[in-house]
């Protein structure tokens, strides 16, 4: 996915003006939060599970090297192969080589944000291998040459009309406006692809060290067809997805579905362990796991380590009022919303993604719904600190902030500034009691009035009040 994060402001503005997008975002705000709340209400132990999830992830990260090696050992024992990739380039090359060895012309793909992170589709296509997205949302996006705007509901920025249009155009069938018919159409189109593919690529929600298994969690069943029908199954995943045991995976599965879609359990939770056994009638003959780092190992021991607890449920973006206002594309890269605002600066550089951690009110809703209690506002603040240290924040803003901070440490002068500002704004407000246009506050008054101060400052009035009281007491 091309990087557009530096244009965040422009893209956010466009998103706010896009009536179709705004309608689509309404579906999100009305849907996920209520469903999650209902699911959480049915699980009295949910808070306890969140605490355990946080603690277990911390334990895993503190022993990540060990669990990764265990996972690798167990994959190999079962006849699978593990490919370690430091960056996107190494991961892409490993996958292309597997495809070439398999003589693959087409590959089917289950939904994987990691494959977006490494731009896999463009790379395969450029090298003569045709990738076919099979998740309904991803399939729609691929037909439109579009990209996901959400990590679990990739086409959430689209409306029914958009799907009708693109299916009509690409499928050569009469235009349908019935979601059930459209889904049936996609089902029929993709059946052929599932059967024809030489390689199937999926992501993994977790990698189980104990058993050397990867697990995918889907509602459609596309991931299962992707990994069962072709001769070769490739899992592209990242190093922080490893968990010790099946029991530990279970803890995260209980948290994941409820936090993500508000389901009790996702329809298909599928563990893959190695290639098909000699006596099996179906299943892939080869099983490859590509373990991508891409900067994550550097987060260990840094102030961003807690971000590696993320299980990609999307609850943070589903509840984020900023995401809800502008959608995922405004963020300009793969991971949107609060988790993206922490992760993206690490993965593409804070010089490019500087807006993301700033475009938050720190309302804290994300942290309050995170299944592994990642302190997302705190981590966004850490990025702001890095930006400040590196002088990446705008000059005028830094100057203003510095001046204000200088005064804030000098109570007498601060009083004087408050008093003058109060007086000035009060005059500007006039009889109305509010200001319609403020020369240095256009950001505010472009959209709303500025209520005028009541009069002199509290501190001045309090002083007078105290003096009056003292005189009264004397008298």
């Amino acid at each position: 996915m091309q990087i557009h994060s530096p244009e965040f402001k422009q893209r956010a503005g466009d998103a706010l003006d896009n009536a179709n997008l705004q309608r689509a975002l309404g579906n999100l705000r009305d849907g996920f939060p209520q469903k999650r709340a209902a699911a959480v209400a049915r699980m009295p132990e949910f808070e306890q599970l969140r605490n355990e999830g946080r603690d277990l992830k911390n334990h895993i990260l503190a022993n990540l090297d060990f669990y990764l090696e265990q996972f690798e050992d167990n994959v190999i024992k079962q006849g699978g192969q593990v490919h370690w990739a430091r960056d996107g380039e190494e991961a892409r090359r490993a996958i292309l080589e597997i495809c070439r060895n398999a003589g693959a012309k087409t590959v089917t793909k289950g939904k994987s944000m990691v494959s977006e992170e490494i731009n896999l589709n463009d790379y395969l296509e450029a090298n003569g291998v045709k990738p076919v997205e099979t998740d309904l949302g991803e399939y729609i996006l691929q037909l439109r040459e579009d990209h996901p705007s959400h990590i679990i509901a990739p086409a959430i920025h689209l409306n029914l009309d958009d799907v009708s249009d693109i299916f009509h155009k690409k499928h050569n069938r009469p235009r349908s406006e019935d979601p059930a018919e459209l889904m049936q159409e996609a089902r029929e189109m993709l059946r052929k692809q599932f059967v024809a593919a030489d390689v199937g690529i999926t992501g993994a929600n977790f990698c189980v060290a104990e058993t050397g298994s990867t697990i995918i969690v889907t509602n459609e069943g596309n991931g299962d067809l992707t990994q069962t029908l072709p001769r070769v199954h490739v899992v592209i995943t990242t190093i922080e997805k490893v968990v010790p045991t099946l029991e530990d995976m279970t803890l995260f599965l209980r948290l994941l579905a409820r936090s993500a879609t508000g389901q009790e359990f996702t329809v298909y939770n599928t563990l893959s362990s190695g290639p098909r056994r000699p006596e099996d009638q179906d299943g892939p003959e080869e099983f490859h796991v590509v373990l991508l780092d891409n900067g994550r190992s550097e987060m260990i021991g840094s102030e961003f380590q807690e971000m590696l607890r993320c299980i990609r449920c999307s609850a943070c973006m589903n509840h984020c009022p900023v995401y809800g206002a502008i959608g995922g594309h405004a963020y300009g890269w793969v991971y949107p919303g609060p988790m993206g605002s922490v992760l993206t600066p690490k993965l593409i550089g804070v010089d490019k993604a500087g807006h993301l951690p700033n475009a938050s009110t720190f309302c804290g809703k994300c942290e309050s719904v995170c299944p592994v209690k990642i302190p997302l506002p705190k981590l966004m603040r850490h990025w702001r600190e890095r930006e400040f240290e590196r002088h990446l924040s705008p000059k005028g803003f830094r100057f203003g902030l510095g001046t204000w901070a200088w005064f804030a440490r000098r109570p007498g002068l601060y009083r004087w500034v408050s008093r003058s500002s109060s007086w000035f704004l009060k005059r500007l407000g006039g009889k109305q009691g509010r200001i319609r246009s403020l020369p240095l506050g256009k950001g505010w008054t472009a959209w709303r009035d500025m209520p005028a101060p009541q009069g002199s400052t509290f501190m001045d009035q309090w002083k007078r009040h105290q003096q009056t009281q003292q005189q009264k007491n004397k008298g």
Binding site: F66, L136, L160, A186, F265, T266, T270, S273
Partner: protein, 222 residues
């Protein structure tokens, strides 16, 4: 690639400010793998067996699975045939599981029954299952010589035999049964909760995306 592996692991250890795990720390993580302790198991599934069955049924229903009760295993061929007749299904791909093939199918004349992996275009499949998990009404199926995974995904309708005695409360109990069943993991473990669905178009749920449009659980009283 070895160098990538070493670099990644080296980075992790540098971040953790230590070398390879040793001593007590190593014992601790090895013990976790060996003993695989359970985390919190929700109280909802900790029930007497009869209530677990009721919980399984209600959770499976909620997930849009359909339940048909079997009084005896011998009634299975007839029940399956009747279901297929009612739903206009005339071909059935069956798992070659002895539990199914040993039954008397001779009187069934409205169904062409084959034993093979599934293919695109198959209308219905019949399989057994490893267990049922009451907590969420989930079926667990294992791949194996007599239970190809494609049967669980390609056909439009998936019929699954589950015995009441196979129903456990929580996922953890299913893992315990799996560990007892075999030392090695099967290639595929499927946990299936209802039929396939998607909400990718305008967040409105539609049933039957890529997997089976209907999931029929033939629940045997035993």
């Amino acid at each position: 690639m070895t160098s990538s592996r070493n670099q990644i692991l080296g980075n992790i250890r540098r971040g953790l400010q230590r070398d390879l795990l040793t001593g007590d720390a190593l014992d601790q993580v090895r013990t976790r793998l060996r003993e695989h302790p359970a985390n919190t198991v929700p109280a909802r599934s900790q029930l007497p067996q009869d209530q677990q069955i009721a919980l399984f049924e209600s959770m499976a229903n909620e997930a849009a699975a359909e339940l048909i009760e079997l009084k005896t295993l011998e009634a299975l061929p007839g029940t399956v045939a009747e279901f297929c007749r009612e739903n206009g299904i005339d071909q059935l791909v069956s798992a070659s599981d002895p539990a199914l093939t040993a039954l008397d199918w001779s009187g069934i004349d409205n169904l062409e029954i084959t034993h093979r992996v599934a293919q695109a275009g198959d209308s219905a499949s019949l399989t057994t299952s490893f267990c049922g998990i009451a907590e969420t009404g989930t079926l667990m199926l294992l791949s194996g010589p007599h239970s190809p995974t494609t049967l669980n995904f390609l056909p439009d309708t998936h019929l699954v035999l589950l015995k009441q005695s196979q129903i456990v409360g929580a996922y953890e109990e299913a893992w315990a049964r799996l560990r007892q069943h075999s030392d090695a993991m099967p290639r595929t473990v499927n946990m299936i909760t209802g039929p396939s669905r998607s909400a990718d178009i305008e967040q409105k749920l539609q049933m039957g995306a890529h997997g089976p449009k209907r999931l029929i659980i033939l629940l045997l009283r035993d």
